[in-house]
């Protein structure tokens, strides 16, 4: 069972590299790619069960807040650098493992990868083998990020995701736009991620003391962070050396640098401009992968690194700022989505709006908010992936979909597609009983304990979310005159084939399952969230005395 983790990372990587080098002529390799991706999905399910079944260490051995329940950390997996710092040679053990949150995202990667690959066999007409190979490589890099349990391998995979994604955007996107868009994506992401390495090195080097060499293990680092934080919060009032503000300002630059990097990846408001360009230029099938998983790397980074390792700096300097930005992003994204007519852009801005909810949940730093954010990562991944896949199928049948002139009631031509589209739009809008509701409600429940204002803005966003979602449905499926008839019957290219319909149906079942029984997925992440909250909540309360006042004044 310990081999699941290396297999998950290496299998898609090796198959993908092999196929990529084999070139474009080997059409028979499509089956191999699908098989490999299916195997990854099966392995990710296995990992999920293993993590579910693993004994949860309730009070951690050394107070660590990040503990993997399935571990792969052999001795030979280490990095020795030709330098020594502070008298210790640099010798870092790399660790891979999965906790509940990681396992959930591994599953998401497995599902999205498999589904996008099945769809690609219908969508992609040229160089299909290379396309599938690149998706496999992307999958491997993403799994590497979600499974890494140390800063170094986290960063390595985080950076390496860029390469296959750029090739995917560039090679199969819009002919005129994709070069510019991929360059913008590359530069934006690098502006965030290259400085990020400075922050990560800072964390690693700060962990070194004269008796203890530096470490990159998240488990050890989180234990150290918790220890430092407890010392700061419990310090006597006159003790300026150990006070909360001293520790916060010491970690301040690290928190800022990391938040910049992750903020760009999750397209937080002023840093979001790469997102619409990229989503509009890439093939919608590629966008399904980027929007559902790659954009989640930022959220994952914050929940995995920023919150557990620099909690005081985060809550002192950035909690309210980022919470506010998240709330504004919800409304801003929704309004822009309402005013766009290109459906790719509508979905792109709706993605910005939805990620705002996740940010809101993260910045509440309490258990409701964090579980909401973690669940919503998965939910939004599934929903946005389905929406972009549906868009891809529409575009394949009718060319670019614009809400202005596509006034034609496609529902009567493509009934199955219409059903799916309505379903996922409702899930995205947060209809109770579907998965979008669970995450967004939890995120807002968390935030209301921190700031009533932000929550009020967010609630406004849910209304707007339903508005732009239904606007898509109305314009594209039913036409503004509501006749439900197509004006251009000649272009009809048939409804969904069985192999197109089945993946969407499976995704819909997942949406429904989580919507009806959220408890199962909550159980998976409950313990991990509880441990993270044990550092994040005290620190946000130590800094913001007004937190929880709203909850207490209720009758």
């Amino acid at each position: 069972m310990t081999l699941i983790i290396p297999l998950l990372i290496l299998l898609p990587l090796l198959v993908g590299l092999g196929m990529f080098l084999a070139g474009t002529k080997a059409e028979s390799l499509v089956g191999l790619a699908l098989g490999a991706s299916g195997l990854v999905l099966a392995l990710s399910l296995l990992l999920l069960f293993q993590v579910c079944g693993a004994a949860v260490p309730d009070s951690a051995t050394n107070g660590a807040t990040i503990i993997a329940r399935a571990v792969y950390a052999p001795d030979w997996l280490h990095i020795r650098l030709p330098v020594s710092v502070g008298g210790h040679p640099i010798y870092w053990h790399l660790q891979f493992g999965a906790d509940g949150i990681g396992a959930l995202l591994v599953l998401l990667t497995g599902i999205v990868g498999f589904v996008t690959m099945i769809m690609a066999t219908h969508q992609i007409r040229e160089r299909l083998v290379s396309y599938l190979a690149l998706i496999l490589i992307t999958q491997s890099m993403l799994l590497g990020v979600f499974l890494s349990m140390d800063l170094l391998s986290f960063y390595l995979f985080f950076e390496a995701v860029l390469l296959p994604i750029i090739l995917l955007i560039n090679g199969w996107g819009d002919k005129a736009e994709s070069l510019k868009a991929s360059r913008k994506f590359l530069l934006y992401t690098l502006v965030g991620s290259v400085p990020m390495v400075i922050g990560l090195i800072g964390i690693a080097l700060q962990s070194a003391t004269p008796v203890r060499p530096s470490t990159v293990s998240l488990e050890l680092l989180s234990a150290i962070a918790k220890e430092n934080q407890l010392a700061a919060i419990n310090a006597s009032p006159g003790d300026a050396l150990n006070s909360v503000s001293t520790l916060a300002s010491k970690d301040q630059w690290i928190a800022w640098i990391l938040l910049l990097g992750f903020g760009i990846k999750l397209a937080i408001l002023p840093l979001h401009t790469w997102l619409p360009t990229t989503y509009a230029a890439a093939h919608p099938n590629t966008t399904a992968l980027i929007a559902s998983v790659v954009a989640k790397l930022g959220v994952f980074g914050i929940i995995r690194i920023v919150i557990p390792l620099t909690p005081l700096a985060l809550s002192t300097y950035a909690q309210m700022l980022f919470g506010g930005l998240g709330a504004v992003a919800i409304v801003y994204g929704a309004f822009v989505a309402l005013s766009q007519s290109d459906m790719r852009k509508v979905l792109a801005y709706s993605s910005i709006s939805h990620v705002g909810f996740i940010t809101l949940g993260l910045m509440s730093m309490n258990s409701e908010g964090l579980s909401g954010a973690a669940i919503q990562m998965f939910n939004h991944g599934i929903i946005t992936c389905s929406m972009f896949l549906i868009l891809a199928m529409l575009e394949q049948r009718r060319g670019p979909v614009s809400l202005d002139d596509e006034d034609c009631g496609l529902a009567s031509i493509y009934p199955k597609l219409a059903v799916m589209m309505v379903f996922f739009t409702l899930a995205g809008a947060g209809l109770p009983g579907l998965n979008g509701f669970v995450g967004e409600l939890l995120a807002m429940t968390g935030m209301i304990r921190v700031s009533g204002l932000f929550t009020a803005i967010a609630v406004l966003g849910t209304v707007l979310g339903a508005w732009y979602g239904l606007r898509i449905v109305q314009r594209v499926l039913f036409g503004s005159n509501g006749e439900g008839k197509s004006k251009v019957h000649a272009q009809v290219n048939g409804d969904l084939k069985a192999t197109e319909f089945a993946p969407l149906l499976a995704l819909a079942c997942i949406c429904l399952f989580i919507g009806v029984r959220p408890q199962d997925s909550m159980d998976l992440i409950e313990n991990d969230i509880k441990r993270i909250v044990s550092v994040s909540e005290p620190s946000s309360k130590a800094v913001h005395s007004e937190i929880d006042q709203l909850a207490q004044t209720q009758p």
């Binding site: 330098v83 860029l162 560039n170 360059r183 630059w253």
Partner: protein
């Protein structure tokens, strides 16, 4: 000193051989070319073996030369670069002047360990000049046209100018201590005053020319444009190694805080300017040669930042050596790929000339892709660790001085600007073009050269400890 002596003596022999070989119409050009290249490789091999079997005594002594870590590292870097450069030269060396070319190249390679092992200002200067003087000759013989002549004259005059700066600084150092022995000088750094700082800044100016740091970088684009690809490769690597090793030699240890207060800000400003000038000018270039020249300037900026960390933390100079090794693999590899395209009949003057090269010359294009990714500093290549180590050194120094962290951030943003123009070159390679003329001429030596570079770039990522 056995390897350095072997190389310098061997180089002199090759120089002398040119007198004997060159004769009449019966001259066997191919035989001479292959013979010279093989002879150079044999010399390199002998030097490497001599270096391998050398027993370093425990007491390194106080003499003209000392075999400490810097000496060994510089020797390794010289041999590594030398191997790639000789392979690159095999098919590109000027046929009329084979003996002079290889002789000068071998002497330059041998001079790097002389600089690295020097424990005396005089021997250090000797080593530096042993690199400069052959460069003048080679610049003159590889390209015998107006641009070549301009490049040669420019380099010669500026080099002489820089040497005089260096000598002025050295004379102050001598005046201050009364000895040219570096250990004696370093022992006296503890009581250093403003004058010592002035001397060190002058020395830095002199060396800034060799490492192409701003404001002594002006010659680089012109010279790179006006000379052959192989020569540009030589000039972007060997003087840079020698310059940085000399910097480590002279000021690597023992500076007191009063001196650091002057030297470190100077290095900071110089490094920031070098990065910005290099990267901004490279972004604006459409001429590939000038772009590479400015990119080499930018890399100098990163190395100078590593230098500041080294001065203050007494951190491992390995940061610099590792960066230079990765730099050798990626830059020389890139030049070798360009050289192969040129040898096969393609043009490499402008960035646009590379359009669609992946479909015309796949192997070289894949090589260039790896080298460019390494220059951007993305994972799976040695360039990632090179930048990582510089960041690490700077952050380690930053525990005492926030300015150092700020400089690390400046470098990070510069790396992003650099990614912009490297990506421009990279995307050109894969552009679908109409001119689908495959370039079929095969040059085994150049192919081997860039294969070595690409393999090293990839392997070093997985085992950075041996970089």
């Amino acid at each position: 000193m056995a390897p350095a002596i072997t190389l310098i003596l061997g180089g002199s022999l090759l120089l002398a051989a040119s007198l004997v070989l060159k004769s009449g119409k019966a001259r066997d050009v191919h035989g001479q070319r292959n013979g010279m290249a093989v002879a150079s490789l044999v010399l390199l091999l002998v030097a490497a073996i001599l270096g391998w079997i050398r027993v370093v005594p425990d007491d390194l002594g106080q003499g003209l030369f000392r075999f400490d870590a810097a000496a060994l590292a510089s020797e390794r870097l010289a041999l590594l670069g030398g191997l790639i450069l000789i392979l690159m030269s095999w098919s590109t060396a000027p046929r009329a002047h084979l003996g002079e070319y290889y002789g000068c190249l071998i002497i330059m390679i041998g001079a790097v360990p002389v600089v690295g092992a020097s424990n005396d200002l005089v021997s250090l200067f000797l080593g530096l000049e042993l690199i400069s003087i052959p460069t003048y000759i080679m610049l003159g013989i590889v390209k015998n046209d107006n641009a070549g002549a301009e490049a040669t004259i420019k380099y010669f005059l500026l080099s002489a100018f820089a040497s005089s700066f260096f000598l002025l600084g050295v004379s102050y150092l001598y005046g201050f201590v009364g000895s040219t022995n570096l250990q004696v000088i370093q022992n006296n750094f503890a009581t250093a005053n403003r004058l010592t700082s002035l001397a060190l800044v002058l020395v830095m100016c002199g060396l800034a020319f060799r490492v192409t740091a701003v404001p002594f970088h002006f010659y680089a684009p012109d010279v790179f444009e006006g000379t052959s690809l192989t020569m540009a490769g030589i000039m972007s690597y060997l003087p840079k190694v020698a310059g940085f090793v000399a910097l480590i030699r002279i000021m690597g240890t023992g500076l007191n805080s009063q001196t650091l207060e002057i030297v470190v800000p100077v290095l900071f400003v110089c490094s920031a300017l070098t990065m910005f000038v290099g990267n901004f000018f490279a972004s604006a270039q459409n001429n590939l040669r000038r772009l590479l020249a400015y990119s080499s300037v930018a890399h100098t900026g990163y190395l100078m930042l590593a230098m500041t960390a080294l001065l203050r933390e007494n951190a491992d100079p390995n940061v610099l050596y590792s960066y230079l090794a990765a730099y050798a693999a990626m830059t020389l590899g890139f030049f070798a790929c360009l050289g192969e395209i040129e040898a096969a009949g393609g043009k490499t003057q402008l960035v646009g000339d590379l359009s669609g090269m992946f479909y015309r010359r796949p192997a070289a294009s894949i090589g260039m892709t790896v080298c460019l990714i390494s220059m951007i500093g993305l994972p799976l290549t040695a360039g990632f660790w090179a930048k990582f180590l510089v960041f690490m050194g700077t952050v380690a120094a930053g525990t005492k001085d926030p300015l150092s962290i700020a400089m690390a951030v400046v470098m990070a943003f510069n790396a992003v600007i650099a990614a912009g123009y490297y990506w421009r070159v990279l995307s050109k390679l894969f552009e679908t073009s109409d001119a689908f003329v495959p370039l079929r001429v095969f040059r085994p030596s150049l192919f081997v050269a860039y294969t070595i570079c690409v393999v090293l770039t990839l392997v070093w990522f997985f085992v950075p400890a041996v970089m």
